[in-house]
């Protein structure tokens, strides 16, 4: 199963109500349960650990989409590409 799929789907389900009640706060979702909504990500993390221990859990700001990241060296498999030609000095 894709990472946190259940949690991400549930987050999308409850997003309209979260947007009206807790916009810009950090929601903690475990399985199909909203654990809580907190003003900072640190508080969200702290409460998630207190309630669930070190468990995979979705922590996302209400109103924020999944992050798109750009890492060309990884995406293109160029992390340790070495130029076989001598360097011009």
């Amino acid at each position: 199963m894709p990472i946190l799929e259940l949690e991400r789907n549930y987050f999308q389900e409850i997003l309209p109500s979260l947007l009206s009640s807790s916009s810009n706060q950090f929601a903690v979702v475990s399985g199909k349960e909203l654990i809580g909504v907190y003003p900072t990500i640190e508080q969200a993390y702290s409460e998630a650990v207190k309630k669930l221990g070190l468990k995979d859990v979705l922590v996302r700001r209400v109103g924020e989409a999944e992050a798109n990241v750009e890492i060309p060296a990884l995406a293109l498999g160029l992390l340790s590409a070495n130029n076989p030609h001598p360097t011009i000095r």
Binding site: E66, V69, I71, L74
Partner: protein, 161 residues
């Protein structure tokens, strides 16, 4: 202002089997700007674990490559699992050549070894880096905090925060 100054060095094997020292400039070309880091659980999670009497996993030490092309910092997936880091979200790694790849995001704390510099990253992307001998890629989300001087001719890098 905490500053770290690194002189890269390395050796290479000649066709005769003899190992020779390579100039710093060449080491920097081959290896890239790398620093020693210790990565552990993000601080607010660690504090919460401690207050409940549980044990906090010991940080893992390894090499991090400074990658100005990376928009976010990455940690090796296998090391994140070894550390017991929980996945807290996902990130989509964009590519021009194929579909976006979904990767886990982990809450981490990074310490630059040999300096008082450490910082928390609520979400670092998991990636497969161990095969390159790397624990992490330091991306622009961290570099926004630093001034970096890349001295190619001498094979040195200097970071200050």
């Amino acid at each position: 202002m905490p500053t770290i100054h690194i002189q890269l060095s390395g050796d290479a094997q000649l066709p005769t089997g003899q190992r020779v020292q390579v100039p710093g400039a060449q080491a920097l070309i081959q290896r890239g700007p790398i620093i020693n880091v210790a990565i552990g659980l993000e601080r607010s999670m660690a504090m919460s674990l401690l207050s409940s009497g549980a044990k906090v996993p010991a940080p893992i030490v390894g090499l991090a490559l400074i990658d100005t092309g990376a928009s976010v910092t990455c940690i090796d997936n296998s090391k994140a699992i070894e550390l017991g880091l929980p996945a807290v979200d996902t990130m989509k790694m964009m590519s021009a050549s194929h579909d976006a790849i979904e990767q886990p995001a982990y809450p981490i704390n990074i310490e630059i070894i040999g300096t008082p510099i450490q910082f928390g990253l609520p979400k670092a992307m998991g990636a497969n880096l161990a095969s390159q001998g790397l624990l992490a890629l330091i991306g622009r989300d961290v570099l926004q905090l630093f001034t970096m001087f890349y001295n190619g001719p001498t094979g040195q890098i200097t970071l200050s925060i």
